[in-house]
Symmetry: D2
Subunit: 306 residues, 4 copies
């Protein structure tokens, strides 16, 4: 895969994720998540890297919705990227010179403690992204003294790190996924995750409980559930699920087939290795060998060989 679209501009956390997920790929910045996915859909790129959720902000709903509708794409990998903010400035700038700072409002929120403590009199102006903020600071005649941005943005725009790790909490993480046009799935590794979207057949009470039971009965653990509006009025939702395991696993396949039977539609979003490499604990009676043994037994008893 030579080209991968990502949420630009150059220097975003998303580009940093892309460099780790696909070190040899050429990154192609896109204006927004939808544009990045569309580049993959139209073949302008071999795939895309987009953010899916953040440990503080939650789901990136634009990504959820873009994956749920339109031409299908498959998630083929994921990355948990620590969100580390840097105070970037033109070479020669010192902390005491910094009076006007530019960054994305979410980054401002997450670095509020640092700004109040270390830059008490500074004005903070909003930019459209943390990478764009660095770009603004680097522009000739910029009115800004510094940007709060990822390290990678400094590399791009020739800025230096005046301060590092300036976020108020050190454990914020964003989960990025690599998506590709439909095609061969990643091989099961034993530490896999499967993502899907379920549109309920009818929004009856208990429908969600029924869906969860499909997973529970086959011993499949859910790791994420997100409701999103269908657009057809308050109270009408569809659901994003992540579960442990690979669609090639018998228990996962049977659970998702059950969802398919019960719902209006299920969109498979991919099975791929977990970034955290946690091995799936297989509940007794739900291993592939248990399923194949039971299938053989069923064939025999259906023929009356008991």
């Amino acid at each position: 895969m030579s080209k991968l679209a990502y949420l630009g501009p150059q220097g975003t956390f998303c580009e940093a994720a892309l460099r780790i997920l696909a070190p040899d790929a050429e990154g192609v910045p896109s204006a927004n998540v939808g544009a990045a996915l569309d580049a993959a859909r139209r073949g302008e790129a071999g795939g895309a890297v987009v953010p899916l959720e953040n440990s503080v902000e939650g789901a990136i709903t634009q990504t959820l919705d873009e994956l749920a509708w339109g031409q299908p794409l498959l998630i083929t990998g994921e990355l948990l990227l620590p969100v580390e903010f840097y105070l970037l400035a033109r070479p020669g700038t010192e902390m005491r010179h910094i009076k006007r700072v530019i960054t994305h409002p979410a980054a401002h929120t997450q670095c509020r403690g640092f700004v109040e403590r270390e830059l008490p009199g500074a004005v903070v102006v909003a930019s459209s992204s943390t990478a764009a903020a660095a770009q603004e600071v680097a522009a000739p005649g910029s009115p800004y003294d510094a940007a709060i941005s990822p390290a990678i943005a400094g590399e791009y725009y020739g800025l230096v790190q005046v301060a590092a790790g300036i976020g108020d909490r050190s454990d914020t993480v964003t989960r990025f996924v690599k998506v590709s046009p439909p095609g061969e799935l990643p091989q099961p590794t034993g530490a896999d995750r499967t993502s899907l979207v379920v549109y309920l057949r009818d929004d009856h009470p208990g429908a969600l409980l029924e869906m969860l039971s499909e997973f529970a009965v086959r011993g499949v653990n859910l790791t994420r559930i997100e409701s999103r509006p269908t657009g057809d009025g308050i109270g009408r939702y569809f659901f994003h699920f992540d579960c442990e395991g690979h669609i090639a696993d018998a228990r996962v396949g049977e659970a998702i087939s059950g969802l398919r039977r019960l719902s209006d539609d299920v969109r498979f979003l991919g099975s791929y290795p977990r970034a955290d490499q946690v091995i799936t604990q297989i509940k007794r009676g739900t291993a592939d060998t248990d399923f194949s043994e039971a299938a053989g037994w069923l064939s025999r008893i259906r023929e009356g060989r008991v």
Copy 2:
């Protein structure tokens, strides 16, 4: 099938059931349920007819246990036989002559009202079966004036009906099953029943709830559940289940495979037409076409064709 063993002696309700279930078969009376089943197991008969449950007395536990252990047999048919008691006597006997009655204690219980009302001074003596009671009355020099027995016993032993339908309730029914050595199953009819025995893997709290969930998630209705002791101490049980549908049905097959995976052992006791011919209501999403459509879809998504 030329010979069928049944719970004798000649003239029992069980023989009456056999005549309806298999009109052309030759009945072979056996001393007890175990002996009848063993005759089928050893090939001395092509099968057997035995009682499984009664609407007043409940399960015939001897049958449940005999089917659960030992060499497997398959239920291939069932019959709901109304339990109709007759007062049988030697020709010429009139009601006012009857002072000594013989019958099985259960029959006595079920005809207590009639006896108290119509035969107020009569002595009632216990026999080992209602058919044996008729045999006793017919014996030369019998000390008994009448027997409470099924009609069929009168035919055998040359007795006449002094009174008919003498049970206190008119709606008592016994369920009989025809069993055969393992072999081809009866074809699905849309109004089928499936019987099985489940031995829990470990008797943990919630194990029964788990078993029932295997049925519920596939939309399979249970119609009977009986617990029986494993013999390994109070509190250790195995279970007899009847469910709607045929093992050839996808939903039934998947449910029972699920039981198999979760339990120490499942013994399939057969799929066969329901005596009451009630068509199985198929819950949305659980028809065979739903399963095959979902299986096709699963195959495609496993290949990445989404």
Copy 3:
């Protein structure tokens, strides 16, 4: 409690159970389980001791049905009595003299190995109970040489033990219960059991699953479930349940109230100390303190004090 009815005649296992459950009580033998319970109902005895289930034979259905219908009685204690069979004979009898044995058929079944091995030529005749068998042997001019009976029967009828522990398996146990007219319940001990009977409102598919969910959601473990026919036709059942805990426990009370709301009727059969003295494991969040804390919180939030 001075008098307790029990399943007679004198010398039964049931009387042995009574002597342990209520050493100071005077036992009153009854002809059958129903008569013993009726003696307690009518006040002819202060209570009764009856068998409820056996580890090999299963439920004593007569007891289940007698407790389910008619005037209510409460179980106030239970006992697990090992079933130990003895070969009893008149003083002076030696093993080699024994040619004719009398016992109850169930006892014969359970001692079949001993009889075949030690008494190869002996005839075994059926009696109505193992105690009655001993009585027969003791009768002047008895045609029987020995009885297979409980030890207590020997005491009563002046017989000696020719052989002890002659059952084929040594671990058979019968569970006896002491029942009393309604009144103050035994105090909770932390190792209690609660028994009840549930009549489903309508026999819809899933009704049993719903009932079990009422227990599961409150963390209450079921230890026994028995289905019994309502008498209204094959496929119509009511249920006997035993669960861990005491009705005074908040989780048990709430679960059983839930059953009550969902069903046509619930008959409470008592809360009493478990014979095995196994302490109930309380699932997190279901202790009485959890319930009372939650109730206090609910009161506060209902008043808007959040």
Copy 4:
């Protein structure tokens, strides 16, 4: 309640909602949702009106998070407000004059069809809110010809409606809630909704299924579920629930008490009349009378009065 804070500036949909929810209140515009809620918390206003979810955009996560953390507030009312966009301009402006339009990006998205069809050459510039856009157009020497805004913004800023109902879909709705400091709850009406936040005790597989079971067993229907990150890493969530009914209802109270026992914390967010006035269907056995009848019965059986 004389003053209510709302999401400003003047002329927002939120202010329109406030005028309907509390016609007599004085609206106090706040810079953002957090500021509006804080005004209510600090007593600067008697309450606040904020958006909770939108039928196209989904949850307003800032509102969810602000209600979940910090000093508690109670929802006391809700409103479903149709999202109707207008093209507003200074008096005298005609459609053909409009070359530069200003609005919030979300509004631009929802009116894209109108803009492309009716204003093909126009430039659309982003503002921070649709009300702010109207304010910009009204400013002396404004570089903008028109704003896409709610009708109420036209009133405030002296603009006229050049076109009405210009959204691409006519059924978009935003749900607003009125919140107040803790205090007496709205009376139950039979058509109520209850909102709460649940923090799982431990994020074990099946925890969500357990929570849903607490509702299902008491016959309480969920109408909304949203997962939000706890901030402690990807895969750690808490949940917002809406359910049918009022905390004063016995079934709702018991269900929520159950959640409380099972979870680390439950925050009650209020019980209030549903905007759609749909009467809650009460499942058999879960009415208040069923609960009180069962409670009376439980008291009696706990005293042994069966």
